[in-house]
Amino acid sequence: MSVILVFILVVAGFSFWWLLQHRVLSKPWLEHGVHAALPETDISNMPTAKIGLGIFLAVIGALFALFASAYFMRMEYSDWQAPPLPRILWINTGVLILASIALHCAVRAVRERRMGMTRLALVTGGFATLVFLTGQLTAWRDLSAGGHFLDSNPANGFFYLITGAHGLHILGGLVALGRTTAKTWDETLPTERLRLSVELCAAYWHFLLLIWLGLFVLLAGWAGDLVALCRQLLT
């Protein structure tokens, strides 16, 4: 359960920092009336949707941290036999990085109000993501062709389960990306609204890329070495 505990620790640390920023040390029973003319507010001027997405990403982070925790706990058993890592995952990783870069370009373009460029970047990002998903399905096919089925041992089960969960999240993101791309043809929409949508998509993509990199390290079996190295450094 160490992965999820580290994750919770990070979230808790951020929360405590946020609370301190919002003066949880103040004494509300002593303050009244004085600043009646202009009561202060401590609402952030960041768009509400971004804060909502941030919290949603924290929930997704917790979900994958728990998958990783379960993976680690099962890995410690002596009969653990990880399936071979399909080569195509390397290409998939590259493609997903490409999608993330494309969305980053889209954010820059929409900020400079270059609609054509935004559209191109969004479509490229979406296309690259579709390639990634196809690649993941190919990886599943390669594995099952090699006799590594979902139910042949827990390591295989974890592989399909974790990559599947990640793929579903990407698929959900694609729906939002599709709607955002459609919005670029809507001339009446204010640019701010479009900019917000593009930024939200990009943030989601970057986060899911980050998760994928973590999962890739996990599934490739390097995570065990990493933990062993950390333990050595600590002791």
Binding site: L30, E31, P39, T41, I55, P154
Partner: protein, 591 residues
Amino acid sequence: MVDATPRMHEGISPAEVPELELYHPKGWWTTYVFSQDAKIIAIQYAGTAMAIGLVALVLSWLMRLQLGFPGTFDFITPDAYYQFITMHGMIMVIYLLTALFLGGFGNYLIPLMVGARDMVFPYVNMLSYWIYLLAVIVLVASFFAPGGPTGAGWTLYPPQAILSGTPGGQDWGIILMLASLILFIIGFTMGGLNYVVTVIQGRTRGMTLMRMPLTVWGIFTATVMALLAFPALFVACVMMLFDRLLGTSFFMPALVEMGEQLSYGGGSPILFQHLFWFFGHPEVYIVALPAFGIVSDLISTHARKNIFGYRMMVWAIVVIGALSFIVWAHHMYVSGMHPWFGFFFATTTLIIAIPTAIKVYNWVLTLWRGDIHLTIPMLFALAFIVTFVNGGLTGLFLGNVVVDVPLSDTMFVVAHFHMVMGVAPILVIFGAIYHWYPKITGRMLDEWMGQFHFWVTFVGAYAIFFPMHYVGLVGVPRRYVEIGESAFIPPSVQDLNAFITVAALIVGFAQMVFLFNLFWSLRYGREAGGNPWRATSLEWQTPTTPPPHGNWGDERPVVYRWAYDYSVPGAPQDFIPQNDPWPQKAVAGTA
């Protein structure tokens, strides 16, 4: 008095925080059924939760009938008994308590108490309710599925949960249970995002975090915890569903059943327990923290005194929330673990007693020399404090490994958790309904029915659960359909069981009086006016009661003070509403 100088944010002055664009419903359906108004959604959540809670209540009667008078009722077979206890537990914990506190009270109170017009994502909020309803329907469907609902115990421990020996294990029961939980979590996440972001972004001018009523603090912290804890249950459910449907072996070790080797192999049942309790323990506080918050407000309002140690109360809520994530394995002392782990988890468990005790002291000190009005909400609040202390003390027993090992899986544990997370939060829910019903409907609940409901429930709950501690101490195990004859169990236990059953039936019937009161007072209750309890927090200051869609009329209120200015010396009344600039006059354009 401290002059808290207003802080300006870069580029945008507080007065220019944009208003939320409200969705304006056009017809009856979008106003009352597919409504995006948090208050309607709250009532939908609460109604559904109470309806399914009623099912769980009847199930508890049935299981008590079996325990009190074993062998008398032919239709209660061992299988049926296991199904009753499983569904009773799961419904009460998740579909009633969690849904009612967060979906019900969260939706109704958060926007009103922080001065918002609605939740920040009303559409997602609406979806949240409908997915919750779907989860409930799937759950109810399992009663009618072949083989009936699952009888795996509310903890659903594998491997037994999906084997043929357990009711519903190889039928539809467990599948529908897991599917329903997955739906519930998806729905809850949608609602939870709303509650959290509304507290962060929806507060009106002047409503700093430290001026929020403790109710909002409790619900806010509980929601943050739930957003982080429910994914653990989600992962566990998905993996078990894979085991059951696709033949994977995440939780299933190699097994021989009825002399037959099953196809499973290599799974770890302990892994499920870790995931389940990583959700399960925070869940206790997901239910308790909103109760803590609400009870603080009830006590302060009905004792006409500011809450003692507001800051400490807020910090205690946050600290309890954080600590509850590192105590989960105290549910697994008997599952086998390294002694040092047991030591660690016993220590963290006992540390939680400190912030919790701070809260109890502060409630008592709030009452101390207060102008206590023994209204129905206050009676329930007082009953909560007593009950929570009772349940909390036995929690200290069970938190210690050496005491827990012999008491584990006995009726003592059942009595403990019913006191601390069954009866105590339910008492708060009742108190809260009596307190806020006038705001929701514009009428008071009937006082005499309320008195009857309170005393029967309170005394009855003790008649049920106090003897149960003793039954557990002499060693009666939980989840046994019948004790049979055992050398160590005296015959008096059977008499006690019969007594408990009678008490349970009576307490159950008292709830029917409460439900009748809810409907009766809707029509015949005394007119309440806008602020019958003379309370300070914002929800009582709405221009009209019940508040309409949008809550606040033309302009949102401006907050000048915290929520606990009761009996302030020199003030014209014994309470000063949060939006009252006293002793200054309101400056034009801000109030």
